[in-house]
């Protein structure tokens, strides 16, 4: 990805929009008793389109903004999401996006990773309350939602960042040679 100030601004707007959508819309929606989460999907897609650094920086920013807005302990979400974005970016740097199933599948797998990592961080920091087995169901269902959210998120983010994507440039119209005097 070619990062210009204009593209940086677009990425910042994507991050801001994703956080607002998560806190004001998805967090208040319940499907089968589970709150869908869009943030790992956005970070994963940014990693897949922009590489490991873009994924890591986007993940860190998203995590920091969410923790600030919810007045939660800073750092935990940033750490988890920067790792998630970095892993998505590493995949992109090593392999091609051969099929359109790669982004949703990455969203499924890495959202599951992000949820598990977040749980691990919380447990390491010490949780006094008992932990219900329903946490596992929550993780699994959130990952399935992320699979379905991955497709529209990927299409929307790719469209927004198209001018910066090296392999996404629109093919130029070929000018047919014309014989003079014909």
């Amino acid at each position: 990805m070619i990062v210009t100030p204009k593209i940086l601004l677009r990425i910042a707007l994507i991050v801001l929009l994703a956080v607002l959508l998560q806190l004001s819309f998805f967090s208040k929606v319940h499907l089968l008793g589970v709150v869908p989460t869009i943030l790992p999907a956005v970070v994963i897609v940014l990693g897949l389109l922009g590489g490991s650094m873009a994924g890591a920086v986007a993940g860190f920013s998203v995590g920091l903004l969410v923790d600030c807005l919810l007045v939660a302990p800073l750092g935990a979400s940033s750490l988890v999401l920067l790792t998630t974005g970095y892993l998505a970016g590493i995949y992109r740097e090593r392999y091609d996006l051969t099929t359109s199933l790669v982004p949703p599948l990455m969203c499924l797998g890495l959202t599951l990773f992000a949820e598990a990592a977040f749980a691990a961080v919380q447990l390491m920091l010490g949780v006094d309350a008992p932990v219900s087995a329903l946490v596992l169901r929550d993780m699994a269902v959130k990952s399935i939602y992320a699979f379905f959210l991955g497709v529209p998120v990927f299409l929307a983010v790719r469209r927004a960042l198209r001018p910066a994507l090296v392999d996404e440039q629109r093919p130029r119209r070929r000018i047919q040679p014309r014989m003079l005097g014909a």
Partner: protein
């Protein structure tokens, strides 16, 4: 060239990871810092706008989910109606007796909201997506008289307490927050006191612990705030705010204490409007 790029990448990654750990170390267990308060104040109006704009879409999705749930609930509710009809007859008699006793003792009739408190209605503008935190953000703050530790209720019962305040907004730690402090609560019909805490992953289920094992606690008993007061300490909550109902009792009986499961009266997942009880003496 490539090596230089690789080194720069590694440096950025290391910097981000170190920053995350540093932030975590510096802010864990602390209340809202200046950065969080600033960001909340700046984004408060944006969040409020987004919340209002997205409400119709949110309600549509929740309608599908609730319809799905309602089918299963219908049968259970029919059985419950039968049960309640029988209980109502007994309650009418008890209410009559209660009214007479109150008059005799010259006690003031109290509702859900205790006297001495002012009510500030607030809209929930954001909530945590994680099961590991039970916090919501409301659109009323210090400028409306909201202060840290003010109790927050809905018409159904206790919801939580204010944990941080900015001028135009506040963060409420819900009673279902696993990291929240325990709430001193009592069983309404026999006065048995315990400490209420949450369970990670199941916001419909709270645990009332450290109840005297000698007390007989039955399913369906109401749980209210204890609101105790000692010379140097006092509960954050005023007494007798409804919290929930006992759904399973006892789940663990040790030598001296027992535990019961409690389902909150308030619909914690579907909070749209809440009331903050400001002022008053706890």
């Amino acid at each position: 060239m490539y090596r230089k790029q690789l080194r720069r990448r590694r440096a950025v990654l290391a910097l981000l990871i170190i920053s995350s750990f540093a932030l975590l170390t510096a802010t864990y267990g602390e209340r809202a810092g200046g950065l969080q308060k600033g960001v909340s104040a700046v984004f408060g109006p944006l969040q409020e706008g987004a919340d209002r704009a997205l409400k119709p879409a949110r309600d549509l999705i929740n309608w599908f989910d609730e319809t799905f749930d309602a089918r299963g609930e219908n049968d259970r509710l029919r059985a419950e109606v039968e049960d309640l009809r029988r209980q109502v007859i007994g309650s009418d008699v008890a209410l009559e007796e209660n009214e007479q006793l109150r008059k005799q003792l010259d006690l003031r009739t109290s509702g859900v909201i205790p006297s001495g408190y002012d009510e500030v209605s607030a809209r929930v503008i954001a909530r945590s997506p994680s099961v590991w935190f039970g916090t919501v953000r409301i659109d009323r703050g210090g400028s409306s008289g909201v202060a840290v530790d003010d109790p927050v209720v809905t018409g159904e019962g206790l919801v939580g307490t204010v944990s941080s305040v900015t001028r135009g907004g506040a963060t409420v730690t819900l009673i279902t927050d696993p990291g929240g402090n325990g709430i001193s609560a009592k069983i309404a019909n026999n006065g048995a006191q315990g400490v209420l805490s949450a369970e990670v992953g199941d916001p419909e289920d709270l645990i009332l612990d450290y109840l005297d094992a000698q007390e007989r606690i039955v399913k369906g008993s109401s749980v209210v705030t204890a609101g105790w007061r000692a010379p140097e300490f006092e509960s954050k909550y005023p007494p007798n705010l409804p919290i929930g109902t006992v759904t399973q009792a006892p789940i663990l009986q040790q030598e001296a204490t027992q535990q019961v499961h409690v389902q909150p009266f308030a619909d914690i997942r579907g909070l749209d409007f809440v009331t903050v009880l400001v002022g008053g003496s706890r």
